[in-house]
């Protein structure tokens, strides 16, 4: 499944929740949820079971809170839709490689800036999260107490957040220099190194999914 073109994977992950909300509840939502939960099992059932388990664990609290706030039929109607959304995205994250997506975007002629922003964000988040944890530990070593009254906690939050944000902002200068050195501002299109193959059958399938969504929407609104 991960051999599919990244745009095809995105199309499947977007179409399933769309159908879940368009088709009549609860049958539509439950059917799409079943499909979304079966997707990971197709290539490798052993790997797929782990993905399905993660999807079910993510969706479970929603069912609990829905039951707390709504009656049985409403819980099933909304729960099916939310489970579809959760299962589709959990599957997408498991099968979609960000590097392949960026390559596909560049190959399709998307601006290099868009591709850079997407890839740089995915790599910056774990780096900054790790730095945030180090700052928390360092400030605790210096005697910062993040407990007590709300005012005390807010002061502690300031002492933890300011070094993180300021150090991140200083990094913008370094990134700017690095990007200018690599010619990002030149506006010249980049040649993709290993563009994922986009088979004609996949392109047809993506258009078919879009047309099916539109047809279902028109049918529901008519």
């Amino acid at each position: 499944m991960s051999a599919l073109h990244p745009f095809s994977l995105l199309a499947i992950a977007a179409a399933l929740p769309a159908f879940a909300w368009i088709l009549p509840a609860p049958t539509g939502g439950l059917a799409t949820a079943g499909l979304a939960l079966m997707l990971p099992l197709v290539p490798d059932p052993r790997w797929g079971v782990r993905v399905v388990r993660l999807a079910l664990l993510t969706a479970a609290p929603f069912w609990l809170f829905l039951r707390l706030l709504h009656d049985g039929p409403t819980t099933v109607a909304i729960g099916g839709r939310i489970t579809t959304m959760v299962a589709s995205f959990v599957w997408l994250v498991a099968v979609l490689s960000p590097d392949r997506l960026v390559e596909a975007m560049v190959a399709r002629g998307w601006s290099l800036a868009v591709a850079y922003v997407f890839a740089a964000t995915l790599s910056a988040v774990p780096v900054l999260k790790a730095r945030a944890r180090r700052i928390v530990e360092a400030q605790r070593c210096r005697g910062l107490s993040p407990r007590g009254s709300v005012a005390n906690r807010l002061r502690a939050l300031r002492a933890l957040a300011l070094p993180l944000v300021l150090s991140a902002l200083h990094e913008v200068d370094e990134r700017t220099l690095a990007l200018e050195t690599r010619g990002l501002g030149a506006g010249v299109p980049r040649t993709p190194l290993a563009a994922p193959p986009d088979r004609p059958a996949e392109r047809v399938a993506r258009w078919a999914l879009l047309l099916l969504c539109l047809a279902a929407l028109i049918w529901r609104l008519a």
Partner: protein
């Protein structure tokens, strides 16, 4: 868009997501997930802020898919922060905190219909429980949903605005001057 503003976008998104570690450490009921959006807007204007907001929602969606429909709230936050920055409302905590409280009301008004119609008010455990509290207090379903969103957004946005104001004031003037809106946001021009 200049290369500097382009470089700011991933950093601002990462700030929004990394601050959860600081929030966990102080154990306060805050999200601070719009910090990067507001900061980027105060530094570089609403277009950069909207890009940061959309990307923050997209990255959050990879972790929890229910974040995506709330991308609209991030766009509203960027537009509001843009107006606040142009009016110099980050000049002190006395102006930033009330502005943040105003955003809290607007953000809850925006997120309530999404939360109610798409998720039945079950977006996070905290919001679901405060919504249940609202129902127990006799509020109608939509009113209880607004109550849940309001409780979570009101204080969060005030603290976020205060934090962004503190960052803008702590930023060296030379660094701030490299961004088009930063000095105006703190009332220095």
């Amino acid at each position: 868009m200049s290369v500097r503003l382009l470089a700011l976008i991933p950093v601002a998104v990462a700030i929004s997501l990394a601050l959860s570690a600081a929030v966990d450490a102080v154990a306060l009921p805050l999200f601070l997930d719009t910090t990067g959006t507001i900061l980027a807007t105060a530094l570089a204007g609403p277009v950069v802020g909207i890009a940061v907001g959309v990307l923050t929602s997209a990255v959050n969606t990879l972790r929890n898919p229910t974040f995506w429909p709330f991308v609209v709230v991030q766009v509203i936050v960027a537009l509001y922060a843009g107006l606040a920055a142009r009016a110099g409302l980050f000049r002190s905590l006395k102006t930033a905190v009330p502005t943040g409280l105003g955003l809290g009301v607007i953000a809850s008004l925006t997120s309530t219909p999404i939360s109610y119609f798409v998720f039945g008010c079950t977006t996070t455990g905290g919001i679901a429980l405060t919504t249940a509290l609202g129902r127990a207090l006799g509020l109608p379903p939509l009113g209880a949903c607004f109550f849940g969103s309001f409780v979570s957004d009101f204080g969060d946005k005030a603290v976020t605005f205060a934090l962004v104001a503190a960052v803008l004031h702590a930023l060296p003037r030379r660094t701030a001057a490299r961004f088009p809106l930063a000095l105006r946001a703190i009332g220095a021009t």
